[in-house]
């Protein structure tokens, strides 16, 4: 079972269809699957629903799929930092299912773990809770949130072996493991594919069972807010 593909286009071959639900890893512009997003743009797949914490910025990350109007609906916790996202939402051109960040991460993990619903206190008493089942446990009120199962997950990791075992680097891990878990099919892009046996089996962040196809690329990894301190402050 070869999992390694040559290009993002090849890795997505046969997986894209209009109206599908895609889960994407990344937080802000950190750890986003840049090549797979670009390949989806080039494929022109339409009416997408995308579950992703953010939507990149106007011209990078998922923002490019908003610019091309390929996205019908976002499931996200944060639309700031993307003027086009906010504009399309406020004008009603784009559906938006606001989901608290932790609820979104847990919905992905749950969907990938055979859990169709779970209860959380997050959002109780807010507009997020409207229309959701409420239930009391030990005298406290919780709402029912649903697991997300995506038709396709696109994620970005640091390294992979050829069996799809993934490791991530620092805070670029973020939503990538739960997004990968919730995909019926998961395609991963990594900075380096190493031979099996090169990664510490105790250090695998996401086992290859979750990863069906794999590409290697030279990532741009854009920085969204370059904050620094001067050396004399040290």
């Amino acid at each position: 079972m070869k999992k390694v593909y040559g290009t993002a286009e090849q890795a997505l071959d046969g997986l894209l269809r209009d109206g599908m639900l895609i889960a994407a890893g990344g937080f802000g512009l950190s750890g986003i699957p840049e090549f797979l997003i670009a390949a989806i743009r080039d494929a022109g797949t339409k009416d997408l629903t995308v579950a992703s914490n953010n939507a990149g910025v106007d011209d990078f990350g998922l923002g490019v799929l908003l610019q091309t109007r390929q996205v019908k609906k976002m499931i996200s916790s944060y639309v700031g930092e993307n003027a086009e996202f906010m504009r399309q939402y406020l004008s009603g051109e784009l559906e938006l299912e606001f989901t608290p960040q932790g609820t979104l991460a847990e919905r992905m993990r749950a969907g990938g773990s055979g859990i169709p619903g779970f209860y959380t206190k997050t959002g109780v008493g807010t507009q997020i809770a409207e229309g959701k089942e409420h239930k009391d446990f030990d005298g406290e009120t919780y709402i029912l949130e649903r697991g997300i199962v995506a038709d396709l997950a696109i994620v970005k990791a640091w390294k992979a072996d050829d069996t799809g075992n993934l490791i991530f680097r620092k805070t670029a891990r973020n939503f990538n493991p739960p997004a990968a878990m919730c995909g019926k099919i998961c395609v991963a892009e990594v900075e380096e594919i190493v031979p099996r046996g090169s990664l510490d089996p105790d250090g695998i962040h996401l086992p290859g069972i979750y990863v069906h196809r794999l590409i290697q690329g030279d990532h741009e990894k854009r920085i969204e807010q370059r904050t620094t301190r001067k050396r004399e402050e040290a």
Binding site: F27, G28, L29, S30, G31, N53, S76, S77, Y78, V79, G80, E81, M86, Y89, L90, F98, P100, Q101, G102, T103, L104, A105, E106, M108, R109, T120, K121, T122, G123, V124, G125, T126, Q127, I128, W158, F168, R169, K170, T171, A172, R173, N174, F175, N176, P177, P178, H205, K221, R222, I223, E224, Q225, R226, T227, T228, R229, K230, R231, A234
Partner: protein, 212 residues
Amino acid sequence: MANDIKGWDRNQMAARAAEELEDGWYVNLGIGIPTLVANYVGDKDITLQSENGMLGMGPFPFEGEEDPDLINAGKQTITELSRTSYFDSATSFGMIRGGKIAAAILGAMEVAENGDLANWMIPGKLVKGMGGAMDLVAGVRRVIVVMDHTNKAGESKLLKTCTLPLTGTGVVDRIITNLGVLDVAEGGLQLIETADGITEADIRAATEATIV
């Protein structure tokens, strides 16, 4: 409404908020003034969480050492410490929701006298999203709001009832403003402390919420 009274500046508010933190705590700091609290923890053993997947958040990197794989929840480049650990977003919010984070220090648009908090949207105007704020206020053991006492129009941000969409209901424990410190208590807000040069009368004049 006395627009000329000032009380604490941003750094003094952050310093006052830092006094709330206890040795050994794991703490989440929101964007804005809460971020400044890190500068005032002194000798206390405080571990900062960044909810995008990190415990043990360090300061901004030196110029030229920014790493796109190492950012905080405000998308700013940061650094790691010797105690740092990384994890995914589901685990990160598991610890938030599970009450493992001792305190969150957050900004706010409005706080009501019953502890309701609004800080994520102004309908039709500003819609950025709740990010992790709803999870934080629902999950962490102590929620401390740091904000200006009044808005730019000089109106109280401490209200009888919030007018904006809520982030959480009855979640705020303590409010630190430029004018002083107030707790959410039975029947309304309780004045704990006044800022330098501020009187209880100043605070009452600048507050719509009931002060008990």
